[in-house]
């Protein structure tokens, strides 16, 4: 054995493309639509290990549905899905602009990722509980939550159900199966497992879903969630939304340069599937499969939604500083709205004219709602929450020291 060791060096992964260079996704393997078979929902996780390295896709490049994950949704349901995604995109554009106008402090949009939460929502049942991140507002839009209430929350006005305490877009709605968004990353992932365990402890039939971004899978809470989900076979669907970017950090920093995020499930014996996150039909089909699996007591599923964050991380972010401006256009899985639109046109259930009309209707609806919200108030203007609200709800009953502080503050 020689002891003549060369000096060690540190490997720091780099994305394929930075500002100024040409986007190149040629290393990104995309299986053809329909290539991945749909296993039974009680399948042994070990027998579908390949699904963590492939991608479930339903829509092909011609806008046709292919393979045995297709056929779950009617044309009417697909048109509704398209409408949900268009609504979310329009809502985002208006709220982003409202932030630029100083009507709120902060906003986060879903551009390019609309299919993930909008399509998933359709697989859930009343009483199920999502533990979302800040980029799953499609669960609310598609779940019928009032848009006016979302805007009131974003504006922190007097009708904000959270009384101005929480950052814009950190919604909460127990009634709509939407757990309070924290803003700290990853914490909700393990909480979703706890909720699912509680359902099982109680002999209930409800399930939970956890949501996390590609970057936050590096948090220890991801590991905690996987361990507990695996140990107790919790009725939970654990979703990783891999939108390629964690603010300025490409997904290779959280993942390393081997395997996939979905493959992380293998060590825990959890069924693990990758899905084309920009394919509304594929997301829905996989969500349907995984929720059915959880509800039948066959255990948890880890889903990696492969998508692309076409916009900035938030209104405080300028992606042109760290990635090519042409990267979004080069993203090989396309745009979820364009793909569903094309499919509906291909099967004769939609047209460019109807699409334009729908866009116009939705814009009118969003603008009308926005006017209602702004008539109530925006951040710091109009009717706003009382400073007294800041002291309320820290505890169910206000303890003496907080009463003294509230009095000291003059409220």
């Amino acid at each position: 054995m020689s002891d003549d060791f060369p000096p060690l060096s540190l490997n720091v992964p780099e994305p394929g493309c930075r500002p100024g260079s040409t986007p190149d996704f040629s290393d990104f393997e995309i299986p053809r639509a329909g290539a991945v078979k749909r296993p039974p929902t009680d399948v042994e996780p070990d027998s579908i290990r390949d699904m963590a390295f492939s991608i479930v896709r339903v829509l092909n490049k011609d806008g046709e549905t292919v393979g045995d994950w297709a056929g779950a949704l009617s044309a009417e349901e697909l048109r509704e899905g398209l409408r949900h995604m268009l609504t979310l995109r329009t809502f985002d554009a208006r709220m982003l602009n409202a932030q630029r106008q100083g009507k709120t402090s902060f906003y986060m949009q879903h551009l390019g990722e609309e299919a993930v939460s909008c399509a998933f929502s359709r697989a859930l049942r009343p009483g199920d509980m999502n533990f979302p991140t800040y980029r799953q507002a499609g669960l609310l839009i598609a779940g019928g939550y009032p848009m006016l209430t979302m805007m009131n929350q974003i504006y922190s006005n007097a009708d904000d159900p959270l009384h101005g305490r929480q950052l814009p877009i950190m919604y909460s709605s127990k009634e709509h199966g939407f757990f309070s968004i924290s803003g700290n990353l990853g914490t909700q992932f393990v909480q979703s497992v706890g909720w699912a365990m509680a359902s099982a402890i109680s002999g209930d039939t409800k399930i939970a879903t956890g949501w996390i971004g590609d970057g936050s899978t590096a948090e220890s809470d991801f590991h905690s969630a996987m361990v507990f989900a695996s140990t107790y076979d919790a009725p939970v669907v654990l979703n990783i939304v891999n939108n390629q970017w964690a603010i300025s950090t490409f997904q290779g920093i959280a993942r390393g340069e081997v395997g996939t995020f979905a493959a992380r499930g293998h060590g825990f014996g959890i069924a693990s599937i990758r899905v084309d996150g920009n394919d509304y039909l594929a997301v829905h089909a996989v969500a349907q499969w995984a929720t059915e699996r959880a509800r039948r007591g066959h255990g948890p599923t880890l889903i990696e939604h492969v998508t692309y964050r076409a916009g900035g991380h938030s209104t405080s972010d300028d992606p042109s500083a760290y990635r090519s401006k042409r990267e979004a256009a080069a993203w090989p899985l396309g745009d979820p709205i364009e793909r569903l639109k094309k499919h509906l046109i291909t099967i004769g259930e939609w047209s460019d004219e109807r699409h334009k009309q729908a866009e116009a209707e939705i814009l009118d609806e969003v603008i009308a709602t926005q006017k209602q919200a702004e008539a109530i108030g925006t951040l710091g203007g109009g009717k706003t929450p009382s400073p007294r609200d800041m002291f309320e709800g820290v505890y169910e009953t206000m303890p003496p020291h907080l009463i003294r502080q509230r009095q000291e503050a003059g409220y």
Binding site: S173, F179, A198, P400
Partner: protein, 337 residues
């Protein structure tokens, strides 16, 4: 009434709560089949089944994180962190999540969980089995922090904590589990059997949170203490022959400031004792509050007697521990002031 150790009293509180309410679930490391390394949950799994009392992976953020999810569902988790020294991996879940859930969701979701953990030293546990992290929790808005000092209170306060609609950090002074301890480590150990507070009422009698207890009435000086230090303070007062009034705070948050203020206004002197490290310890808060509330009644500067600002040592345990000699010195000094 039955004579019990603190361990038995804690176990009985679990039993009473689990019998009364199906939503109460109990879990943690070694908590299920074995009944906990200190045996505080022994027999519960056999009695209530594996879905209501179970072992968990060694993952404190997972234990607290799943408990938060269960509370959001509608259960009432009572969870054990094996030693307070092990709670730090769960700190994010406690501080950023459990403590704030009610406020940030405007009570759409709440977090009625109890996080129990053995605290304090005196058992040669070294730096990883002896810490007193109460100030890390009293500094967090949205938490309640409870430290019982005897079997009777342990049962009543734990029942109150389980009933409470908000998250409670329940710190159990492990040196008191089997008997009161006055800090004279070279004397024979005593058991709860000979102590009146070892007599524990049966059933669901709670001890309300936010109420201190005067364990020794006196007129010369007020001693603010909790947990193990209650007995150290009492012993130090006896040894020094000083007519000290010892207040067992029982709940650090919410704090019974009225009882503290009334006593200090009567005695005009105050000594604060805790086992935790001094800097930014809970004693700093107590001293501030007494200064703000009772300044014109004070006849001498207040004194803190605490653990030193070092990691809790192993071989030097009794030099670290704020025992009766150090507390006695402080009592004499404050009387001279």
């Amino acid at each position: 009434m039955a004579s019990m150790t603190m361990i038995e009293a804690i176990r009985e509180a679990h039993d009473v709560a689990m019998a009364a309410d199906d939503r109460v679930v109990v879990f943690g490391e070694d908590v299920g089949f074995f009944g906990g390394v200190f045996r505080c949950t022994a027999g519960l799994q056999a009695k209530y089944g594996k879905s209501r009392c179970f072992d968990t992976p060694i993952n404190e953020s997972g234990i607290v994180g799943t408990a938060i999810g269960m509370a959001a569902y509608g259960l009432k988790p009572v969870i054990e962190i094996q030693f307070a020294d092990y709670v730090y991996p769960a700190y994010d879940q406690i501080v950023s999540e459990a403590a704030r859930l009610r406020h940030r969701s405007n009570a759409d979701f709440t977090c009625p969980i109890v996080i129990r953990m053995p605290t304090g030293g005196g058992i040669f546990g070294g730096q990883t089995h002896s810490q007193s992290p109460e100030a890390l929790f009293t500094h967090v808005s949205g938490l309640k922090v409870v430290v019982p000092s005897n079997p009777r209170d342990a049962k009543g306060l734990l029942l109150a904590s389980i009933e409470d609609p908000d998250p409670v950090i329940f710190l159990e002074p492990k040196r008191l589990y089997n008997g009161p301890f006055d800090g004279y480590h070279d004397r024979p150990v005593t058991s709860w059997k000979k102590h009146p507070k070892g007599e524990v009422p049966e059933g669901n009698e709670i001890a309300p949170l936010g109420k201190a207890s005067i364990t020794r009435e006196g007129s010369d000086v007020t001693v603010l203490a909790y947990g193990t230090m209650v007995y150290v303070a009492e012993a130090a007062a006896e040894a020094a022959g000083i007519d000290a009034e010892v207040i067992d705070l029982r709940t650090l948050l919410p704090l019974d400031l009225d009882t503290i203020t009334a006593s200090v206004e009567k005695t005009g002197r105050c000594v604060i004792v805790h086992e935790a490290t001094r800097t930014s310890g809970f004693g700093a808060e107590l001293m501030s509050l007494v200064q703000e509330s009772c300044f014109y009644h004070l006849e001498a500067p207040m004194i803190r007697v605490t653990g030193w600002d070092t990691p809790y040592p192993h071989a030097q345990e009794w030099e670290y521990f704020p025992g009766p000699a150090r507390v006695g010195e402080a009592l004499k000094k404050v009387m001279e002031g």
